[in-house]
Point group: C2
Chain length 317, copies 2
Amino acid sequence: MYLPLGFPYYEDGPAYNEILKNYHALKAHGINATLGYIPSSLVQSISWPEEYWIIDSPREIVFTTPPGTAISTRTKIIEDAIYSIAEAGNRDILKGWRNERFPVYGPGGEIVLEIERSASATFGIVTSGVQLLCYVEDEQGHIRLWIARRSEKKQTYPGMLDCTAAGALGVGESPRSAMILEATEEASLDSGIIDTDMRSVGSISYFHMKSPFPIIGNDSASAPLLLPEAQYLYELKLDQDIVPRPNDSEVEDFRLWNVDQVLEALSRGLFKPNSAVVVIEFFIRHGIIKPETEPNYREIIMRLHRRLPFPTAVRLG
Amino acid sequence: MYLPLGFPYYEDGPAYNEILKNYHALKAHGINATLGYIPSSLVQSISWPEEYWIIDSPREIVFTTPPGTAISTRTKIIEDAIYSIAEAGNRDILKGWRNERFPVYGPGGEIVLEIERSASATFGIVTSGVQLLCYVEDEQGHIRLWIARRSEKKQTYPGMLDCTAAGALGVGESPRSAMILEATEEASLDSGIIDTDMRSVGSISYFHMKSPFPIIGNDSASAPLLLPEAQYLYELKLDQDIVPRPNDSEVEDFRLWNVDQVLEALSRGLFKPNSAVVVIEFFIRHGIIKPETEPNYREIIMRLHRRLPFPTAVRLG
């Protein structure tokens, strides 16, 4: 299986520095952590009010508000910066605006600020989500997966293949509650069945890199957006007579795919990228991808559980 | 759940350097990789023949044999060094000698040398193993695990709790074949049942730190040995009427433990350390350890899949 090289590890030295020189680290006075990474071209595309921000060398953009500042104050300051970046030519941020906020955590697990979901990628903020794969298993143990096809009308990855249900984790949501809600809303599954049979099976974490919005008046190649993500994973073995059905406008249809069909679709790049990795993890956990047949077995597993260099909700001492 | 801090990550900067200053990196001329880490006190306890070794600053001990050197030649050179270290007061290396060799890989996946199993920890060489957990599941979905108690006569971790079967992966062995062999030899399981029902479920990787052998004539506190390990994981759901039985002298007995009993034993430190992490991973995969009840959920998962800074059998790009 081919995996692109992606975002280098810190210990890779030269490769890491080669990438990071194109970004500003987002920090806040008195908070000992990097909160995100913004492409330097975006930092330079607007002016940052001096009462709230300082642009530090080397390549840091820092909230000057003191540590005790209210969450809502920082949230407002960063929202103003988002509007400025949008007005500087990145209209897509506003187009995708969902009025759904992600928490940004400090090193003690405290919320430092909240950021609009559609802008989290611009600031390279780590985001969390939930992913469910439903499957059926026949008497011979052969697995088939309920694969969703995204609506052609979706703003992101229209028409691409997806897990059975998925969603983002907002401020204060429990992964399990969020997953149950998504599975009932997106796949019309009975909440009783989900509650009884849905199993928590782990989490994955990785750096996704994505092409940035074009910047008007700036034709030079811009650095990709950095999207560090964590996904809480769930699986649900369904009886053969239970059929997920689209409910809201998110999903075009659900189809029951056998393993070879899913592997073929993966290799053709038909899955939304952060759903593809969930399917790969499922295949590893179910013994379909094996060390004897996948030369990059361990490397894939290590990269799917990357330690992200940002605080998350809770950390060990 | 409490997890000790353990070996710091490279990006931790000061903490990483504070630990690493007590070790020499093992390298070889013309091979662009660190092969292991040796406590500097052990390096200084013997003299290293100048025709084969050079002690470089900062803190590197380097094979001077050229890149094309035969595996058997390097294997012999390092064996001589092992004997010297043993004679300098670390007799335990010889006491544990098993005539079982581990491969040491270069960055292209090629074997650079082989090292006696009982000496791999001394040189901080990454080792690979296989681990099997057998379990039964009742009608309500409640899981019980077949837990082994190690023989009191074992040289390492006598009397401690263990997975159902486990073993080290020698040169050229396939994880699945090695696991089947261990499960038949240690737990008397029928190879037909294993072959049909045993499932590959992933791998874990981590840095284990272990107190070193005492050095005669050197009373200063010595740095712990560094044991980077990778484990290929397997599980096997057994019918209630199948009972694993000790076969060789490795295992005292097998008992069927419920989840609460296993969690209690984990918290009391009754498991061999690198078996405890396998049980924790099983509990995460089976939804017994959950994000809602384990505050360190993601941190534990990331640390159980650490990217090790050494070449392994095959690597990406």
